[in-house]
Structure formats: structure tokens, C-alpha cells
């Protein structure tokens, strides 16, 4: 019984300790959706189980060092004692059992929380395509025909299916309060599903270092009610500019969101955010496929590269 209890009480205590001193709401320790919540539970459970093997160490070290200190003539001294069958079984057995238990759990949750799986929800899923650019994220809504930079809005209680790639170096996409991260790589498509339980704004970021503007590559993931979402879409259509090949070529240039705003003449928007009312062609797939067509992508056509030239990049696509 004690084992179970420990593994139940400790996580709670730890959660309290950790969340108690938290300032921002952008971590999976204050989950905004089922995945992050499950991840938090997992963390506490591992903590609980490993304590069985680890607490004895913490307790025994001072006890042993004190009891067997040199000057303690009362303690037994057995210089040649060097094995004991019972201890041997315990030393291998206890960690082994814990690892077996944790492994079973790991296998289950790794499958259950596999990011390629759609999340259960009553509402129809929303598709979003994510393109990592140097120091900003581009979000394409293929079913709505709009696009944004550094603002990912979606209705609550809806499974959002993200398809990710980049048009530059490797990046890693993380919205901690909603789900884990996944790499985005040029010429490749990775997948992630998120779902928010309640409206709110969560910070998203790139965690894979990609140069000067790396710390600025953050965005807001905004979960909103269905009505608010529709209003938001309408607003993007209203205040956005069209995303053409030419404006994409400019956008793709290495720049933070704020710099991109200036480049594309969208200074009025929220910091770092851009809205696009229409998207020319199937941008996501043309980005994805330009690396797989068997044609070289010279630096002048490679966003993020040192010799990138937006003026000519457009034609070589």
C-alpha cells in the first residue's frame, strides 16, 4: 500500500510546489489541453516511482557516513566483507522492477500520446499547415484560404491537425501548454495534433537554434470559441494582404516577425503578427516539393541562406 500511496501523494505535493511559484501560464505544468495534462501526469508518476529507488540513497548516505565514521569505535568493521546474496538480489531486483513498471507505462503512453493521432472531439477537425521560416512561423489555413504569421488561432475543443515543414534549416515547434514539440524540416512533413480545452492564449516557440533571431521566434497560440474564431477569420480576411509568390519570397527572408512587418508594410498589426487574406496556389506543397524535385536549390533561392535573393527566388521556384 505504501508504494501506491507514495506515488499518489508525492506528485500532488510536487505539483503544488511547482505550480505555486509559477508566473506565466505557458507551460505544460498548467496544461491547456488533454495532451499536456497527460504529460504532466506522466512526469509526476515517473517521479513517484523512481523515488522508491532514490530516496533510500538520500537517506542512507548520511546515516552510513555518520555511523561508520572513522572515530566511531562502536561500529562494526568488516574489511573483507564483500558480498551478500540477499543484497545482490535487492540491488538488481528493485531497480529492475521499477524500470519494468515504467517501461510498461512508457509503452502505453507513447502510443496513446503519439502526435500523429487525431484527438477525440465532437467538432470537426481543423487543418493548419505550418511553415518554419527563419525567426517566424507561417500558418496556412488550407480550408479557409487565409494565412498568418506568428498567430495561430483555432476553436476550442477542436482537434487541430498541424502539418509542419520549413523553408530553411531545421526547427522545432512547441506549444508547451498544449502538446509536445516536433521537428520541422525542409522537404519533409511532420505532424502534430493539438486541442485546447478552454479559450486562452498560449505561447508557442521554436526550440531548435537557428541563428540570430532565434529567441524572437515566438508566437501566440490562441484558442477561442467557435464564434470568436469565425470573427477572427473574417478579420484576417479584412485586414490581411494577399500572400503571393512575390510577398512570400520577401517574407521568407531571414527576419523576425517585427522585421517582416516592416518589409511587407504591415506595421499596424499586433507585434510580430501578419495576416494574409488569400494564399496563392498550394503554397505548402510547393514549399515541400521544391526540395524533392531533383532540381538544385541554389543559395539565392534558399530562404535563410546567406546569398538569398528574394527578387530572383520567385522565378527559380
Amino acid at each position: 500500500m505504501s508504494v501506491r500511496q507514495i506515488s499518489r501523494i508525492l506528485p500532488g505535493a510536487l505539483a503544488l510546489a511547482l505550480t505555486g511559484c509559477t508566473g506565466s501560464g505557458d507551460s505544460f505544468l498548467q496544461p491547456g489541453g488533454p495532451i499536456a495534462a497527460a504529460q504532466r501526469t506522466e512526469l509526476f508518476q515517473i517521479f513517484g516511482w523512481t523515488m522508491i529507488a532514490i530516496l533510500p540513497v538520500f537517506v542512507l548516505v548520511p546515516l552510513l557516513l555518520w555511523r561508520y565514521r572513522y572515530r566511531n569505535a562502536k561500529a562494526r568493521y568488516t574489511p573483507d566483507w564483500d558480498r551478500s546474496a540477499i543484497l545482490e538480489v535487492l540491488m538488481w531486483g528493485v531497480p529492475l522492477v521499477i524500470v519494468v513498471v515504467l517501461s510498461a507505462q512508457l509503452y502505453r503512453t507513447t502510443h496513446a500520446l503519439d502526435p500523429v493521432q487525431p484527438l477525440a472531439s465532437e467538432n470537426p477537425p481543423l487543418r493548419v499547415q505550418v511553415v518554419g521560416l527563419d525567426w517566424k512561423w507561417l500558418f496556412l489555413y488550407p480550408d479557409l484560404g487565409i494565412a498568418t504569421v506568428n498567430e495561430l488561432a483555432f476553436p476550442v475543443e477542436t482537434s487541430v491537425a498541424l502539418d509542419l515543414t520549413t523553408d530553411t534549416v531545421m526547427q522545432s515547434f512547441l506549444i508547451s501548454a498544449l502538446a509536445g514539440q516536433i521537428y520541422a524540416m525542409p522537404g519533409m512533413r511532420t505532424r502534430l495534433h493539438i486541442l485546447a480545452d478552454a479559450p486562452g492564449s498560449f505561447e508557442g516557440e521554436n526550440t531548435q537554434f537557428n541563428g540570430t533571431g532565434f529567441p524572437a521566434q515566438r508566437f501566440a497560440a490562441r484558442a477561442m470559441s467557435a464564434a470568436d474564431f469565425d470573427a477572427w477569420v473574417a478579420q484576417v480576411r479584412a485586414d490581411g494582404q494577399p500572400l503571393t509568390e512575390a510577398s512570400y519570397a520577401l517574407l521568407a527572408e531571414s527576419s523576425t516577425g517585427a522585421q517582416a512587418q516592416a518589409r511587407l508594410g504591415a506595421e499596424g498589426m499586433a507585434p510580430g503578427v501578419l495576416h494574409f487574406s488569400t494564399v496563392e496556389g498550394d503554397l505548402f506543397h510547393s514549399i515541400l516539393h521544391r526540395y524533392m524535385h531533383g532540381n538544385p536549390v541554389p543559395p539565392s533561392a534558399q530562404p535563410g541562406a546567406v546569398g538569398y535573393a528574394p527578387e530572383t527566388a520567385e522565378q527559380t521556384r
Binding site: 524533392m292 524535385h293 531533383g294 532540381n295
Partner: protein
Amino acid sequence: MSGSNLHPGLNLGARHGSAHEGAETVVFGFWIFLMSDLVIFGLVFASYLTVANPLGMAGGPGPADAFDLRSIFVQTMILLTSSLTFGFATLALRHEKGRTVIAGWLGVTLLLGLAFLTLELRDFAHMIEVGAVPQRSGFWSAFWGLVPLHGLHVALGCLWIAVMLAQMALLGLVPVVKTRLLRLGLFWHFLDLIWVAIFSIVYLGGLMP
């Protein structure tokens, strides 16, 4: 074979006295080195296999456009024979047939090695002609990372044979020279092993109907 082997594989034999015992350490060390080298080859092979597909070829030429099975066959025969001739050199060393016999077999092996390299270079020239260059695709990069790496080893082996011929002439068959010949033998046979993998995986695998 004559009794007391100190380590796996090629041995000089007890009659070589201190050279035989001395070989224990250096030959074992050389085995370890070869095993480390084997891991390098293994990983380059694995990398090659990960791009031996249409995506890796990126619309460029494939194996069928660039490989010449006939030439590979001849190269294989040459390398195989050179293993045999090196074997005879080792036997002559073990059984103390004298410097000239050993040098003779080594010389034949050297010539075979050079012949192999010549043919291989000719193949490479042909590949460059048809555009199967490493700059063309990931697949050709991997090919050019793998096969010339083996070729480089063969070239080093040839250089080593030449150095040993010189040392035999200048120093005579002193113990260090004997143990070096032993290690050179390991190296040469090891190259042949790698080649078996190359012709099976790269060439036969690539040209499979």
C-alpha cells in the same frame, strides 16, 4: 597448422621466436584498429542504403545508368587473386623461404592492386561522363563516399607494400619487419572482405533485375 597460435588469424609460428611473441601485442592492436575501421565502413554502407531510393537519387542517374558489371567482375577477380598471392607471401614468410620469394609474391600483389585501382579509376571516369557525380544527388554522394573510400584503402595498401619492399631490402627480415608484414596481410585481406560487401550490395544490388 603448426601448433601454438598466440592470437587469432595469421601467425608467424613458434620458430620465429621473439618476432612471434612480439606479434601478439601488435597484431591484436591492429585487429582492434581494423574493427574500428569496419564500423566506419558499416556506417557508410548503412548511409548508402538509406539513400539508395528514388528520393535519394533526386531524378538523377541511377545505378543502371552508370555501373558496368563486366568491369566490376574483372576488378573482383583481380582483388580475389591478390588475396591469394598475398597469402602465398605470408606462407613464404612463415616458412622462411627467403626474402626474394616473399618480395616476389608481394610484387605480384602490388601489381594486382595497381591494376584494380586503374580499372576502378576508369569506371569512375565513366561515371563522371554520364553525370553520376557526387554533386548530382544524395545517392551519388553516398556512392562516392563509399567506393572511393575502399579504393583509398587499396591505394594505402599498395603504398604500404612498397614501403615493406623497401624495408625488406634495407633492414632485412628483422622481427619488426615480419610483424609489419603480418599486419599488412590482415589489412589486405580485410580490404577484400569489404570489397565483397561492396560488389554484393552496391553493384549487384544496384543492377539487380
